[in-house]
Amino acid sequence: MSTIAPRPGDPEINDALVREHGLSDDEYASVLRILGREPTYTELGVFSVMWSEHCSYKTSRIHLKTFPTDGPRVLQGPGENAGVIGIGDGLGICFKMESHNHPSFIEPYQGAATGVGGILRDVFTMNARPIALLNSLRFGRPEHPKTRHLVEGVVAGIAGYGNCMGVPTVGGEVAFHGCYDGNNLVNAMCVGVVEEDRIFRGIAAGPGNPVLYVGSRTGRDGIHGATMASDSFVEGEEGNRPTVQVGDPYTEKLLLEACLELMKEDSVVAIQDMGAAGLTSSSVEMAGRGGTGLRLHVDRIPRREDGMTPYECLLSESQERMLIVAAKGREDDVRQIFTKWDLEAVVVGTVTDDGMWTIVEDGVEVASIPVGPLTDEAPEYDRPRAEPADLAARQAQPELPAVGDCNEVLLQLLASPTIADKRWVWRQYDHMVRLNTLVRPGAADAAVLRVPDTEKAIAVSADCNQIHVKADPYEGAQGVIAEAARNVACVGAEPIAVTDCLNFGNPERPEVMWEFERAVTGLGDGLRALGVPVVSGNVSLYNETDATSIHPTPTIGMVGLLESRDDAVGMGLPADGGELVLLGSPRPSLGASAYAIVCHGVEQGAPPKVHWNEEKALLAVLHEGIRRRFIRAAHDAADGGLAVALAEMAITGGRNPDVGPGQGCEVNLAANPDPIARELSLFGETQGCAWAVVPTSHLADLLALSQELGCMARHCGRIGGDRIVVTDAHQTRAIDLSLAEARAAWEGGFCASVGLPQPPVRD
């Protein structure tokens, strides 16, 4: 092994410094073994970030291996910058979701903005043109003093970055819960389109090939961001500001256009964005995949400020930077394109065949680490798991007295911030740029985008019900998959692939690790039942503040395919009428429901179970019924049960598939008139159910199709009037509410709860 003299001015390596870098005794022993000597300060920093939870997945890897990742459509599975699923016509959909939780809590605008910037780079680095962004957000209680500030900052940050990039933000979800008071979640997803034979990967091949640094200059921002993301929060220590990066979406827009222009040619061998752990992880991962080495001259890195050490340059998480391996002799072709877009492109090193990751400063080696061990021998833990002591209590069915007035219950649910209209949020996102948005936010369970230059469209949705997952991680996680699949099916799409973003608490707590393992198993079993693979994902652990972990929040980003984009439907009741059919067999439960939380302040009980045979039959009826034009609108039952789903269809009705002024309806739910049984059937949460709107002339067709595909279907009522009316088995009106009243509750609920000015009512 080579010996490397300590760099003058660098701190001396000692136990305290090693601990500060988050390396355990065992991990540090591995470092000594791999190097055959003591590391330099620079090398210590490199091991620290590469072996951080965020970069190495050391805790989660052993469980993630159980996910189904194969399938006939998979063009690129997990392990690259993003996954790719084929949709025919020589095209693939490239997508991934990633968390930016900790930075967004410390500095909501920049934290959220750079989360969007990072996920965009992951997609366009594969040579995919980004066509949509989504996000899944979790905040603390609306009345918590910090919540309003965080909501405003995070939403503005997402808007600021995505809008400037000219990539529409078309969907997502926002929910509130006390478990996020000290640790909000910001999960951003990007979806792009790529030609299947032009997918670029981050594999550093061809010794002698030059390595180019392109994009923004390197500053001191974000040093050890990956390490921060691998630790818990303690109240009062948010002052970690230097580790939050600052975004520059304008530069990223230039970088996007320059990279896509560059990848039209054959001068690029490999390309990878600099995300978490910056230059270190991008270069190490590229060399690792290529089985090669890299020799980088750190003094050539374009810098924002003088006096930066190799340690700082390598660990900086400055944004809007990429690393490119070019074909030898083609450096000028690369430079020419970047110059056109006013960006820097500098040769900073070469690919080598010695398997070493070597960093040189002014001719002196400051780090030299074997690539294989650095990536392959990253620690992997099977951390202890223990069933939480309170699990039985969590799942005990709560005793809930009937509220009695179902109109009142419905209004309360519609106005609750997690269910209420999120127009205040998505109005700030440019959701139409690039002219592909066929079904807009708020108009359906999933957004629908046309795939340019084809007849096809994709449906995209991001989902997680963390109340269900907390109550029963295995069943709840299956429910997340089922709901995401229903959401894309309700607009007419077939679910084809997912990305995941697994947000959990401190994995060093056995009960959190138990939740993680159960949830991952539930997701995997659900996906296997559906036959849908995971193609990309991200894990965010240590979401804990003052020793309290968040609810397990495994967010799923689902992509569905519509062979014909003309088929897409929304959820609003059409103004020209039709029949309402309930698809599926409701098995309502008030445990772990929005009703129990909102109306009774009780979070307890087992979540509704998924019955995959029924669920798949429902998906088939939705997909086929929409394709054959029997179904004109559809919406699945989720938070708040069948009554809330129906009310949402009525409130947004009138201009399907866009959000309209509203459209009334009258349905019979044949519910038992006993008050609590009635509330159970109206507001109980269930898997496997959706409302479908069918023209009277096709009612028999839809019922026949449902029977053929093995899905229960019941004709319950019809569209008409300006009220939402639900009768029970005795033909008594359980709900009889004017559209105006329901709409006011739903449209005003979010802003009233969070304390924000409500946007003017839409025309």
């Binding site: 503005a156 990039m165 139409m432 948005t437 000015p757």
Partner: protein
């Protein structure tokens, strides 16, 4: 008829405008790069939406200095048709091709949603074929039109106000004004009428898949006007 669509660094609706004039309306179209001076014999120039040069300064303030903008100004002075949409409108005011300024929205937030516009002057080259109202989405943070009293009086007197924010039925109300623009102004022309600036995006509602397609009438109007002009 040939359209030229300017690409500034940070333009992001350039491809949308190109798509609509080329694939929806069947015209020739070409991109005009901000560093170039060659207008490639186009008959109408579109300054598209986006964030030219990042708009970290006042929106459009840097774009006015780019080489292509100087050529666009010359083209406009000779009577060429120029349409500035959103950021393009901001650039036109900064470059002095249209009067007034666009301030930050009165609610201080970016707003993206459909806007109904009443056509306040149907006798411009841009509106001859338009129905009484058109729908065009807005997507901006700085779309609040402002001009001093004298300028505003002249714009109104000379009927240079072409589009105003309105209810769907065409009624102009305060509620229908999304950004606080004076007199509900959504789009204006210069005195000669060959330069139009508008904050709403007609290209986003030019296809029936994306809305009622009424935004296409603005493009059809200018194509019609151009063809009439060449015939005359």
């Amino acid at each position: 008829m040939k359209f030229g669509i300017v690409t500034y660094p940070g333009s992001n609706c350039d491809h949308d405008a190109y798509h609509v004039v080329k694939h929806v309306l069947g015209c020739d179209a070409t991109f005009l790069w901000h560093k170039d001076r060659d207008l490639q014999d186009v008959d109408c120039i579109i300054l598209p939406g986006g964030f030219s040069y990042g708009d970290y300064l006042r929106c459009g303030a840097i774009a006015r200095f780019s080489p292509i903008t100087e050529e666009v100004a010359r083209f406009a002075q000779h009577g060429g048709y120029v349409l500035g949409i959103c950021n393009g409108f901001q650039v036109l005011t900064e470059a002095g091709l249209l009067p007034g300024v666009l301030r930050t929205n009165s609610q201080l937030k970016f707003i993206c949603e459909d806007a109904s516009l009443v056509v306040a002057n149907g006798h411009t080259p841009w509106t001859v074929l338009c129905p009484e109202t058109v729908v065009a989405p807005i997507a901006h943070h700085g779309g609040c039109y402002y001009a001093d009293e004298e300028t505003l009086g002249r714009l109104e007197g000379e009927r240079q106000v072409v589009f105003r924010y309105a209810q769907r039925d065409g009624t102009e109300t305060d509620e229908a004004n999304p950004n606080g623009s004076l007199n509900n102004i959504a789009g204006i022309t210069n005195a000669r009428g060959n330069v139009l600036g508008m904050m709403p995006h007609p290209e986003r509602n030019a296809e029936s898949e994306l809305g009622d397609a009424s935004g296409a009438w603005i493009f059809r109007s200018i194509i019609h006007s151009f063809l009439e002009g060449t015939r005359a």
